[in-house]
Amino acid sequence: MDVVEIISHHILDHDWGVTLGGFRLPITTHTVTLFAVSLVLLFGLHWISLGRKSRTGRLLTTLSEEYVAFIRDGMVLPNMGEEGRRFLPYFCTLFLFVLFCALAGLIPNVKTATSNISVTAALALCSGGLILYCGLKFHGFIGFLKGFVPSGTPGWLVPLLFPLEVLSLIIKVCVLAIRLFANMLSGHMVLICLLLIIFIVGQMHIAAGAGAFLPAMALELFMTCLELLVAFLQAYVFTLLTSIFAGSVIHTH
C-alpha cells in the first residue's frame, strides 16, 4: 500500500483536463466545489432574501439578518468604522464562502476547496485588493504611501521603515492564504491518516486491524468535530483579519 499515493489522491486537486480551443480550462475537483458552493450560496441567500411568509422563511430571514448584524457589529464597524459599511456585502460573502468551502469538505466525495493553495491565494488576493482599494480610496495614492510610515518617525528611518511596512502588508496577505490553506489541509490529512491506521495495522494482522477499528473511528469522529469547529474558526479568522488589515489602512497611525 502506497500511503503517500493514497493521501495525495485525497488531498491534491484533480484536473479533468478540459480544453477549449487549445486553452486549458481549469475544471478541477476544487473548482467544481467552488462553483457548487457559489450556486448554493447564491440561490439559497436569494431565496432567503425574498422574505417568505412561511415559518421557515421567516426563521431564515431572521437568521440571515442576525448573521449580517454579527459581521457588521463584530468585525466590520469595530475595525473599519463607518467607512466599512459599504464593504459589508464583501465580508458577508467572504465568511460564508470560506465556511461553506470548508464544510463541503466534510461531505463524502466532496473536496475541500480551501485546502488548495491556489484557492486560498485567490481569496487572499481579493482581500489584498480590498485593502489596497480602501487605502487608495480614503487617502489617495500619496496619502496611502504616507500611511506606511508612522507619524513622528525620524527622516533617516523612513527609507528603512517604508519597505518594511510594504513588505509587512504583503506578508499579511500571504499569511491569510497560508493560514487557511494549512489549517484546512492539515485537518484532512489527519482524518485520512487516522483511517489509514486501520488498513496499515490490518495488513500486519487482520485481528489487529479489527482491534484498531474502534479507536481509529473514535479519533476520526473527534477530528471531524474538530474540523467542524475549525471550519467556523477559520472563516471567522480570515474575515476578521481582512477587516483589521483594511481598517488599518483606512485609519492609519
Binding site: I11, L12, L34, F35, S38, L45, T93
Partner: protein, 164 residues
C-alpha cells in the same frame, strides 16, 4: 505531494473571478435586501424605543403635575379643615357664651320673678294676717279699745311679724 504548494494559476484566476462574481451577484440579489431589512427593523426598533421613551417622559411629567396638584389640593384641604375647626371652635364658644348668658338671664329673671312672687305673697300674707289679727283683736278688744289703740296694737304686731 510536491504539487501541494505549487500554485495553479488557472484555478487562481478562476477562483478570483468566481468569488468576485459571487460577491457582486449576492450583493445585487441577496445582501442589499437582507441588509435593507435589517436596517429597517433596527430603525423600527429605534423608533419604537424612542416613542416608548417619549411616552414615559410624558407620563412622568403628567405624574409630576398630578402629584403637584394633589399636594396643592391636600394643602388646601388641610387649610380649609383647620379653618373649619377654628370656625367651629369660635362658634362653639359663641354658642356656649350665648347659652350661658341666656341661662344667667333666665336665672336672674326667675330670681326676680320669685322675689316678686315672694314679696307679693308676703304682702298678701301680711295683709291677711293683719286683717285676721285686726279681726281677732277687734273681736277680742272690741268692747275695751278705741280704734286708735287697736291700730297701735296692729302696728306693733306687724313689726313683730316683720322682725321674725
Amino acid at each position: 505531494m510536491e504539487n501541494l504548494l505549487k500554485p495553479d494559476y488557472g484555478v487562481l484566476v478562476l477562483t478570483i473571478c468566481n468569488f468576485l462574481l459571487l460577491v457582486y451577484l449576492l450583493k445585487k440579489f441577496a445582501w442589499n435586501r437582507i441588509i435593507g431589512g435589517l436596517e429597517q427593523r433596527e430603525k423600527q426598533i429605534a423608533d419604537d424605543k424612542q416613542q416608548a421613551q417619549d411616552a414615559r417622559a410624558a407620563a412622568e411629567t403628567l405624574k409630576r403635575e398630578l402629584d403637584e396638584k394633589l399636594a396643592q389640593i391636600s394643602d388646601e384641604a388641610s387649610k380649609k379643615m383647620a379653618e373649619a375647626v377654628k370656625l367651629g371652635e369660635t362658634q362653639k364658644e359663641q354658642i356656649l357664651a350665648a347659652a350661658k348668658e341666656q341661662s344667667e338671664r333666665l336665672l336672674e329673671q326667675a330670681k326676680t320673678q320669685i322675689e316678686a312672687e315672694k314679696n307679693k305673697a308676703l304682702a298678701d300674707v301680711r295683709g291677711e294676717i293683719a286683717r285676721t289679727a285686726v279681726l281677732a283683736a277687734s273681736k277680742v278688744v272690741q268692747q275695751q279699745m278705741s280704734e286708735e289703740s287697736a291700730q297701735h296694737v296692729v302696728d306693733r304686731v306687724l313689726q313683730e311679724i316683720k322682725a321674725k
